[in-house]
Symmetry: C2
Subunit: 352 residues, 2 copies
């Protein structure tokens, strides 16, 4: 129960070969007879040999150099994600993983592409990026892959491209989840839903809406979709007008960003007036506060903590040319005011 785990020398001895031969087998180097290889494999299984990663990493001086490209700007979600990556970076220093977190102008495929071109020249072992739905982005990914640099898309995918993996939620699932919650909140009654997105041309926003529609079916009316460009002033204005215009609205689903404007609008309502149910995405300071104060009802979060962890996991595995585990999408998480995570507030404060 307490004995030393077997080393490769033990394996070699057991297999009746030299250390060199055993090493050739485990590292897939050429020049080993089939028989010897079989013996070594058998010895590995007999002894339950597992390669000591500490020793392996040490001897190889393995360094993992990853670049993470995030959209810049005031978007609370990406600020949170950036803080999480920064925190991960300092934690991962001890494991010889260096994360270089970069910002590019949001919604600017040109800027993203030129950044990617630059990264393709850098000595990197992997890149994660928030893809924009654009041919140039796909070309940038291809350029990185051509240099043998693995690429992971994050939050927003680009399915046709050569990216190795996607880390993020399935937006249709997120929309369906909101649909179900809307149904629940209406307790069997019908209602009229006001959808707000950044732009209908944004694939993720459109997918969320269509997921919601799938679940609501014909039992609910859907008001004309507002496109707020993810800008809070615009969201505030448009939603304000729509609500004034259409008193039948029983629920608002904001599938995009710019929710600070929505929250401002809700704060301006008389405190005890009936208001529509409000569902929105991403747990950030202002949405958290709104939920705590009862101005909104549900936040759908894509758990950036989990996404950050998984990006690092994927990039490390890809850099070692190993198989990915856990390629299923991130599950959108439902936050009500009752199950808000506790540490969240502190972590955000600490991040400034």
């Amino acid at each position: 129960m307490n004995r030393r785990p077997p080393t490769l020398s033990d394996v070699a001895r057991r297999a009746g070969v030299s250390y060199a031969t055993a090493d050739r087998v485990v590292n897939g180097r050429a020049g080993v007879s089939e028989k010897a290889a079989r013996n070594v494999q058998a010895a590995i299984e007999d002894l339950g040999y597992v390669r000591n990663v500490a020793a392996a990493n040490l001897s190889q001086q393995r360094l993992y150099r990853f670049a993470i490209v995030l959209p810049a700007g005031s978007n609370g979600f990406f600020q949170r994600m950036q803080a999480l990556f920064a925190e991960a970076a300092s934690r991962l220093l001890a494991d010889r993983v260096s994360l270089q977190v970069e910002s590019v102008e949001a919604f600017d495929p040109e800027a993203l592409t030129s950044r990617m071109t630059a990264l393709a020249e850098a000595p990197l072992d992997g890149v994660a990026l928030v893809a924009s739905d654009d041919e140039r982005t796909a070309a940038g990914i291809a350029a990185l892959r051509a240099r043998e640099i693995p690429v992971v898309t994050l939050v927003s995918d680009l399915p046709g491209s050569q990216r190795n993996a996607y880390v993020g939620i399935d937006n249709v699932v997120a929309g369906r989840t909101v649909g179900r919650l809307i149904r629940m909140a209406h307790g069997g009654r019908r209602g009229r839903v006001l959808p707000v997105v950044g732009a209908l041309s944004a694939r993720d926003h459109a997918e969320r809406l269509s997921g919601m529609r799938e679940v609501l079916g014909d039992d609910f009316e859907i008001a004309p979709v507002l496109e707020g460009r993810d800008r809070h002033e615009m969201v505030e204005t448009l939603v304000g007008l729509a609500l004034a215009d259409d008193p039948e609205i029983t629920a608002i689903y904001s599938a995009g960003a710019g929710n600070a404007g929505l929250v401002r609008l809700l704060e301006a309502l008389p405190p005890d007036a009936a208001r529509p149910y409000v569902f929105l995405h991403e747990l950030v300071p202002h949405s958290r506060r709104a939920l705590e104060e009862g101005r909104i009802d549900v936040i759908i979060d894509q758990r950036p903590e989990e996404e950050v962890a998984r990006v690092v996991e994927h990039l490390t595995l890809l850099a070692d040319r190993r198989a990915l585990v856990r390629t299923d999408p991130i599950v959108p998480t439902i936050f009500l005011r009752e199950n808000l995570p506790q540490a969240q507030a502190d972590a955000l404060e600490a991040a400034g």
Copy 2:
């Protein structure tokens, strides 16, 4: 950008001391003047030195031997947890962490205590266990601590004891979350809730109920609490009787186990008959199926995957006498049929 991370030799050189002295500083060994220590610290910060854990682990031949004690039996939740620990164990072999997963008879504090006494004699670096609310368990924990073996309680806490940490959800929070969902599902209307627990004397079940009550306040009636002993036949019978007896019930909250019985009962209902909203705990095969088939509405899950990861994290840190990170409780997660995790089914199948 691509240079070799600094080693302790670099630090020593920079600080103008020998490697030996630098080593004494970083490992907190005695026999270093204050001045030398300050110089070394400064050099560490200047260079951004981070101890290479691979090298450190290698040189120390550090082995982490942890024991995990779970209640035996057919309980789907603990079966899932056991599978997750087994999976973690094989993954962690490469990191020289050995998890020895043990079962003891459920609800048998005597059996748990004698197991703990045995473990106190074993060469272990940490123990995780599902505490039962019992003095003997507290004594067992004390015995382990007396042998310098860190102890983490899992799923069920024992606050008065000497355990180093608790990994699990806050059951009041879970109950409050359900309370909010019940409110939502009633869409502003009143209702009558049937609570089902294993036993009112079980602290976690009682806490869940009181959390729910907090949120429902006086707007809802609460039917007499059923105690199903976490046994599915008993739950099936009791709930069946209660529903027949009390047609006013609009929601069922099952805060304990034995939900297979509840699901059977619901399956027996005529398919298109109105049924109460049903809320229960833990995503396991039968509850998952019930949710997929629309026989229940919500599953509150305590994310055993996350708990397993955190147990390992805590035990490792404790074994190294380091400070714990992330001591906030696990956040109860809400699953609707729309946001069920995908991989779950496969993972459970694979675990057999």
